[in-house]
C-alpha cells in the first residue's frame, strides 16, 4: 500500500501537525518508503495468532480506590505557556 498527496494531508491533519504544500511530496516519499519496508509483514502467516497485548504475562495491578495525591494545582500549571490562576488559557473554543 502507498499513500497519495491527499492522504498525506489527511494524516497530517489527524496528527495535528501543520504541513505546507511544499513539504507534501517529500513526506509522501518518506512515508511510502516506510510503508514499503513494513510491507514484508504481509507474507507472515498470522492465521489463529493472538495479537500481543502484554509482553510480560502479568495481571495488571489495580490501585486502591483512595485519594493519594492532589492539591498540587500550582505544580500542574507551573510549565503552562498561558494561564490565569489555576486555569490553562486557550483560544475561544465554544462560540
Amino acid at each position: 500500500m502507498s499513500v497519495d498527496a491527499a492522504t498525506v494531508r489527511r494524516i497530517a491533519h489527524l496528527a495535528r501537525i501543520a504541513v505546507s504544500e511544499g513539504e507534501v511530496p517529500h513526506l509522501q516519499g518518506e512515508l511510502n518508503a516506510m510503508l514499503a519496508f513494513v510491507e514484508q509483514l504481509s507474507e507472515v502467516n498470522v492465521e489463529g495468532v493472538e495479537p500481543m497485548t502484554s509482553v510480560t504475562p502479568m495481571q495488571m495491578k489495580k490501585r486502591q480506590d483512595v485519594v493519594d495525591d492532589g492539591g498540587i494545582a500550582d505544580d500542574i500549571v507551573a510549565n503552562a505557556p498561558a494561564t490565569e490562576g489555576h486555569f490553562f488559557l486557550v483560544p475561544k473554543v465554544v462560540e
Binding site: 501537525i17 512515508l31 510480560t56 510549565n79
Partner: protein, 491 residues
C-alpha cells in the same frame, strides 16, 4: 594521585570507603572533564552546584558510616528522565524550557542510594534515532575516531550522550533508555557496557514516554560490574507504574564472577545476515569461543521470525508514539505557537516543536491506527510480535540459558553519513537489538573487539525474562577475555 575520572565505579566506591579521596574531589574531577569536553556535546545541561551539594552530602554520610551503595558516585542522566527543578526536554523543542516539579522513580532511587548528578545528557529527540542526530541540541560526538582520521563519528542513539559521556570519562555511569536498541547500540559504538533489563524491571514513571510497551530504562557503564551496581539501584517495583513488576531485585553484583560452566548458549542462525562484514562474523565466533572456554555449551538455535521484528517495530513503536505524543499540544506545558483557533494552535505548535524524524513517526503511527488500516497494519504487527516472542520462548524451553549475537551490524559511522535519503537505512542499525524489545527480554551489550579501522564492536547477550544475573555472569566472561577499551583523548 591517578586521574580520578579513569576509575571504574567499583574502584571509586572502594576509594571513597577507604577515604583515599572525597566525593567532592571525585565530582570536581568530572566537572572539569565535562568542561574540557564540550566539543562532544554530550551534556545538554551541566549542574555543577547541585553536583557539589550532593557530593558534600555524600561525604558527610560516608564519614558517618551511613553511606548508600552509590554514595558519592557522579552520574549523568539522560534528558528523558524528569529531574525536579532541572530542565528536562527529551531534546525536543516542543518541551521548551520544561522544568519538572517531580523526579522520575529511577533517578530518585539513584539519589536515595547516594549518587551525585552531574547534569543532563543529550539524546535523539524523544529517543527516536540511532545516531543521536535528531536532538534539538545538535549531534553528539563519539570519543572514538577511525585510526588516522579526524572525522567525528556518531556515538549511536538514542542514548548517544550517555554512551559518549561514559566512554570519554565524563561520568562514572549514566542512565539510558532502550525502545529498540537505544542502550545497546550506543554502548557497542563506544566500547561501553549497556543493559536493557526485562520489560517491567525498572519503573517508567517520570521518563518521557516514546513507545510504552517497549520502553525500558537501564544503565550504561564502563564495566559489567559497574552496570550491575547501577541496575540494582535503578530497578524495583513502583506502584506508580502498573507495568513495573513486584518481585525482589537481586544483588546483581553477586552474579559477577559466577561460573558459567554448563550453561547452554544459543547461536541463532537467522542473525547471520547476507553481506554481514567478516569482522562482525569473526567477533561473534570469538565471543562464542570465549564462552565455550569458560565451560558453556554452544547450541545452534532458530528464531524464524527475526527478519520481521524490525518492520513490526516500525508499526508498533510509531503507533504508540503517535498516541503518547498527543499530549504535546501547546496548552499544558512547553512550546506554544499561536493559531486562529485551537486546532491551528495545535497544528502550528506541533509543526514547529517536533523535528523531522518525530513528525514522520507520529504521522506513520497515526496512519497505521486510522480507520480502515488498523487491522492491516497495527493488528497484524501485534500478531507478528506474538510470533517473535514465541520464537524466544521455544528456544528457552529447550534449555537455552542465553543467546549470543552481534550487537550491531557495523561499527560507528560519520555524522550525516546514513539515512539522508531513506530513513530505513538508519533503522537497520537496530536489526539485532529490536527483537529483544519486541519480546520484552533483557539484553546486554559488552565491548568485544575492534574493527579494521580501530573502532569498537560489541556483542549482545539475550536472556530469559528477569534473568539479568545470567547476562552479568556471561558478560563478565566476555569482558575478561576481550579486555576493556579506552579511546585516545582528542577533545
Amino acid at each position: 594521585m591517578t586521574d580520578l575520572t579513569s576509575l571504574t565505579l567499583a574502584e571509586a566506591r572502594k576509594g571513597l570507603a577507604a577515604k583515599n579521596f572525597t566525593s567532592l574531589e571525585l565530582t570536581d574531577a568530572h566537572l572539569s572533564a565535562i568542561e574540557k569536553a564540550r566539543v562532544l556535546n554530550a551534556f545538554v545541561i551541566e549542574t555543577p552546584d547541585q553536583a557539589r551539594a550532593m557530593a558534600r552530602e555524600a561525604d558527610s554520610k560516608i564519614a558517618k558510616g551511613d553511606a548508600g551503595p552509590l554514595a558519592g558516585i557522579p552520574l549523568g542522566i539522560k534528558d528523558l528522565f524528569a529531574t525536579r527543578g532541572v530542565r528536562t526536554t527529551a531534546c525536543s523543542k516542543i518541551l521548551g524550557n520544561f522544568v519538572p516539579t517531580y523526579e522520575s522513580t529511577v533517578t530518585s532511587q539513584l539519589w536515595r542510594d547516594g549518587a551525585v548528578m552531574l547534569g543532563k545528557l543529550n539524546n535523539d529527540e524523544f529517543a527516536m534515532g540511532s545516531a543521536n542526530e535528531t536532538s534539538c541540541f545538535g549531534p553528539v560526538g563519539n570519543p572514538w575516531r577511525r585510526e588516522g582520521s579526524n572525522t567525528t563519528l556518531v556515538p549511536g542513539g538514542s542514548s548517544g550522550g550517555s554512551a559518549s559521556a561514559v566512554a570519554a570519562l565524563l561520568c562514572m555511569g549514566a542512565t539510558a533508555t532502550d525502545t529498540g536498541g537505544s542502550i545497546r547500540q550506543p554502548a557497542a559504538f563506544t566500547a561501553t557496557v549497556g543493559i536493557k533489563p526485562t520489560y517491567g524491571r525498572c519503573s517508567r514513571w517520570g521518563i518521557v514516554a516514546f513507545a510504552s510497551s517497549l520502553d525500558q530504562a537501564g544503565p550504561i557503564a564502563r564495566s559489567v560490574r559497574d552496570a550491575a551496581m547501577l541496575l540494582r539501584s535503578m530497578a524495583g517495583h513502583d506502584p506508580k507504574d502498573t507495568t513495573s513488576v513486584d518481585i525482589p531485585v537481586p544483588d546483581y553484583e553477586a552474579a559477577i564472577g559466577k561460573s558459567v560452566k554448563g550453561m547452554k548458549i544459543g547461536i541463532p542462525r537467522e542473525y547471520r545476515l547476507d553481506g554481514m562484514p567478516a569482522e562482525i562474523e569473526k567477533l561473534w565466533s570469538e565471543g562464542a569461543a570465549w564462552l565455550k572456554a569458560a565451560g558453556a555449551e554452544l547450541v545452534e538455535v532458530s528464531l524464524p521470525h527475526t527478519k520481521y521484528a524490525l518492520p513490526a517495530y516500525y508499526i508498533v513503536a510509531p503507533a504508540e508514539a503517535s498516541s503518547n505524543l498527543a499530549r504535546y499540544d501547546g496548552v499544558r506545558y512547553g512550546l506554544r505557537e499561536q493559531g486562529k483557533n485551537i486546532i491551528e494552535l495545535y497544528e502550528n505548535t506541533r509543526a514547529e516543536g517536533f523535528g523531522a524524524e518525530v513528525r514522520r513517526r507520529v504521522m506513520i503511527g497515526t496512519y497505521v491506527l486510522s480507520a480502515g488500516y488498523y487491522d492491516a497494519y497495527y493488528l497484524r504487527a501485534q500478531k507478528v510480535r506474538t510470533l517473535i516472542k514465541k520464537d524466544f520462548e521455544d528456544c528457552f524451553a529447550k534449555g537455552v540459558d542465553a543467546i549470543l549475537t552481534p550487537a550491531t551490524p557495523s561499527a560507528a559511522f560519520g555524522i550525516g553519513e546514513k539515512g539522508g535519503a531513506d530513513p530505513v537505512e538508519m533503522y537497520l542499525n537496530d536489526i539485532f537489538t529490536v527483537t529483544v524489545n519486541m519480546a520484552g527480554l533483557p539484553g546486554i551489550a559488552v565491548p568485544a573487539g575492534k574493527d579494521v579501522q580501530g573502532l569498537p564492536l560489541g556483542l549482545q547477550l539475550i536472556g530469559r525474562p528477569f534473568d539479568e544475573e545470567t547476562l552479568f555472569s556471561l558478560g563478565e566472561v566476555i569482558e575478561q577475555a576481550a579486555g576493556r577499551f579506552t579511546p585516545a583523548r582528542w577533545w
